[in-house]
């Protein structure tokens, strides 16, 4: 009995030691394997499905008061696009800026900044949650994207709004882009914002236009928007995942 028991102990000891080593080094290997990261990624579909099931379509993000405003609104990612065309627009106060809206719409068109400002606006004080973990509260004024959609009239096949941006993210000039589905595109708080904290949107926060998607994380809220394209699929755009960060492993649905 004694020898059997001590061999059982040795077995358990080895199992524990092997288990620990497997956990530490194996997890790093698993993080690089396609099948396992895909399995882990299935949680995103669960998060998306359960949040869409649980939350009403029109559920509003919390709005705050002037007293809650962050004294400093952090700029993250690009703070000044390294792009000569953008710099030329900025130098001229975005007078020559045109937002192109097209794709699966009945009436594609472009908007100058003044034309966007002439549309009915919405002002909201909301909390900006970065995927990194920090939050900042800012006041945004802009035209609801729904107002623009009403004018360009999306075709029934349109499923996503894709935002193409002016900021290159690397030396080869890969541009930032993002996408949201039509449910978020039509949402009352989804704005094409041109003012932050009662002043024209600063370059570091996305001038002349950034999108506000208040029920998701900050990386969905693309800055320096040059073009909005309505599409029925995302897999044929850039890396195929629906956004610059999505192509680099972040979730397309950033409601968590």
């Amino acid at each position: 009995m004694i020898s059997q028991d001590s061999s059982r102990r040795r077995f358990l000891q080895r199992t524990l030691a092997a288990g620990g080593a497997l956990l530490l080094s194996g997890c790093d290997q698993l993080s690089h394997s396609a099948w396992f990261t895909k399995l882990l990624g299935s949680a995103e579909k669960l998060n998306f499905a359960s949040q869409r099931l649980l939350l009403p379509r029109k559920a509003m993000a919390q709005e705050f008061t002037e007293a809650d405003l962050s004294p400093f609104f952090r700029s993250n990612g690009t703070s000044n696009p390294d792009n000569p065309e953008y710099q030329a627009l900025a130098a001229n106060g975005f007078a020559a800026y045109r937002l192109q809206v097209g794709g699966l719409v009945a009436r594609p068109r472009s908007y100058s900044l003044d034309e966007l400002k002439a549309l009915p606006s919405r002002t909201q004080i909301t909390r900006h949650d970065c995927v990194e973990g920090w939050s900042a509260i800012g006041k945004w004024k802009g035209v609801p994207l729904s107002r623009v959609l009403e004018q360009v009239k999306p075709q029934p096949s349109a499923r996503y709004a894709v935002f193409y941006c002016a900021d290159p993210m690397d030396v080869v000039g890969t541009r930032y882009y993002e996408s949201i589905d039509m449910e978020d595109a039509w949402h009352a708080q989804t704005l094409l914002a041109y003012e932050m904290n009662d002043a024209p949107l600063p370059v570091k926060n996305g001038a002349p236009i950034r999108v506000r998607v208040e029920r998701q994380l900050g990386y969905k809220m693309a800055k320096y928007i040059m073009q909005i394209h309505l599409v029925d699929r995302l897999d044929d755009i850039a890396g195929g995942k629906g956004g610059y960060w999505e192509d680099r492993g972040y979730e397309w649905y950033a409601g968590i």
């Binding site: 009995m1 004694i2 028991d5 102990r9 358990l12 956990l23 530490l24 997890c27 790093d28 993080s31 990261t37 399995l39 882990l40 990624g41 299935s42 949680a43 995103e44 669960l46 998060n47 949040q51 649980l54 939350l55 559920a59 509003m60 993000a61 919390q62 709005e63 705050f64 809650d68 962050s70 004294p71 400093f72 609104f73 952090r74 909390r127 949650d129 970065c130 995927v131 990194e132 973990g133 920090w134 939050s135 900042a136 509260i137 208040e214 029920r215 998701q216 994380l217 960060w245 680099r248 492993g249 972040y250 979730e251 950033a254 409601g255 968590i256």
Partner: protein, 280 residues
Amino acid sequence: MPPPDKAAGVRTIWYRRHTWPIRLMHWINVLAFIVLLMSGLQIFNAYPALNWGKSSYSGQPPILQMGARLDAEGNPMGVTRVIGHEFNTTGVLGVSAGMDGQLAQRGFPAWITLPSQQWLAMGRRWHFFFAWVLVINGLAYIAYTLASCHLTHDLVPNRADWRSIGQSIKDHLLLRQARGEAARYYNILQKLTYLGVIFVLFPLVILMGWAMSPGLNTLFPGWVDVFGGRQSARTIHFVVAWLLVGFVFIHVFEVVISGFWNNLRSMITGRYRIGGSEDD
């Protein structure tokens, strides 16, 4: 010659201490908790500070902050600030050696984060997948403990338990273990600790995780402010995670001193021995 225990007349009793669903759910929980802790620290490292309130930029300094600066000799130094007090934590917090051995600026060190390198997107994947594992496993556990009466029989303190609380505190401080029939049952401190972990700490850490979701924030706008705001929720999430780590340390310590192999076996095969020795 018979073993001393037998000579003294102590009979060895084997019994089934834990049913298979409890054993299975215990180990699933172990795996999920380890992954959630380590991937959580990876996520923390993306913004290695904790704030109180609705936002991180409210004019108030962070409660906790990990950073780096150069010391007098020009060497990188890890600095951790806790409520205005500064500590040199080089090598562990703020600045530590990565898997390549090079000192680098990071909140928690590579050996405790998942993945080991700085990789927020992958940390989130691990975290959210195993969060579902933890929640589903936890719901199954609660359903099972209710249906099997494990909760009412074994975990909820009875009158005798409450009367024994003073003795139980004394026993724990003196590291005295229950023997014979008494070892069949959880003691009062054990019951209260398990109930606290199952019904307070785990639900709280999950709720504070949900409180950080901008999507779930819209369920009842403002519900997160009950806990002080989103950044407070993040801080509570962090603190409760470490309280759970504290529980794990005490739990494993008690497992070791009250008969490590006997306890471990009872959580693997279910068999638990009362009286006698391992070799019977």
